[in-house]
Symmetry: C2
Amino acid sequence: MATMQRMQTTGLELFYAKGYYDTSIDDILKKLHLSKGAFYYHFDSKEDFFVQIIQNLLARKIYSTLIEPIEGHDNPLTLITKCFDDAMETAVHNELDYGCILSNFITEFNGKNDIIMRHLNEIVTVWEVNLVTALQKGKFNGYLDRHVDCEAAATFLMSSYFGVRTLMTSAAPAAKKYRFMSQLRQYFKSIESKVIS
Amino acid sequence: MATMQRMQTTGLELFYAKGYYDTSIDDILKKLHLSKGAFYYHFDSKEDFFVQIIQNLLARKIYSTLIEPIEGHDNPLTLITKCFDDAMETAVHNELDYGCILSNFITEFNGKNDIIMRHLNEIVTVWEVNLVTALQKGKFNGYLDRHVDCEAAATFLMSSYFGVRTLMTSAAPAAKKYRFMSQLRQYFKSIESKVIS
DNA sequence: GGTAAATCCGACCATATGGTCTGTATATAG
DNA sequence: CTATATACAGACCATATGGTCGGATTTACC
């Protein structure tokens, strides 16, 4: 693998585990047995480095785990349930889980770095749009009750997912997941179509 | 006000706004026109300082905004609704909102500082216990459906609140709040007692 | 008023960090 | 074979940070 890509991969790993401000460039270079010269040959600054990571790795990761799985013509509530279940199962099996990457970075950069925040918010928006679209399609196809506010449901889903991933890092992730999923299904039952097809 | 308390108050302000690792002791001292000597006379280290802030300020803050308001013998779903609404309203009106303090610190310290994480988890547990208790009492008093899993509901509520506070920092906090509350009520409607009293 | 404890000052230190710069090995092109 | 761009090494720099320490000042108490 090219040096530049190895730097980005290792960079994301460490930024996710230790946070952006608490991860030095030397930390990343040490792990890869590379030098300062190599880093500043490929990137302008630490911030530029992180922005590229967001666009090249983070955005794709979010897409593959949270957006792509909910595309399709099936019942969106079923798709979202499975999507969240899978994502949380990965976290449960992960020895060292640090929560949702996207949520963590938003927390870290909020009010500190507007440039990076714009990039992160862009990903959030893409996720939101896809969620709303999926729910609206589900409403059109008769899976959701016609009174459901899809924007509101999307916000609620994003919130709960961000939050539970944070909570899971504290203690008993498997139990937290189980409890969360049970109430997610409860909520979904309340917004699904009442017409018995 | 005593110097020690002023340090803690200003410390919490800055730690909340900029994060623990990105706030230097000099930042705090500069704002208070105090010296290093004053700081290390009152506190052993930056970590000790933060632990005391958690116990003296953060724990009380969480208690007064998220726990105390849901105590009582009324319908817990009504109490929680109002509690969340009030807390989010404060955030909306706050020019610079940085999300839920507790959630932010958990994100920042997770996997980095076990000592501080223990103190933060303690607060989470207290909140959780009080939520579960309130819900169980509500079930006993006929406000909640008797099939409701109160532990699961508490986890779901904590998750969604943590998450929405993070989301609100990104954009359109007022809209996010409105949407969130509408779906919270939707969820509550699905777990309230079905018996018409 | 003298003494001692409490409170605070600020110079200083070791270390870490983002970033710069010069040099060097390799590869590619003419 | 030479020249030139690519890709990386590593010494170096300015600055920042957590923490130390001797001393000055204020307060409390007899």
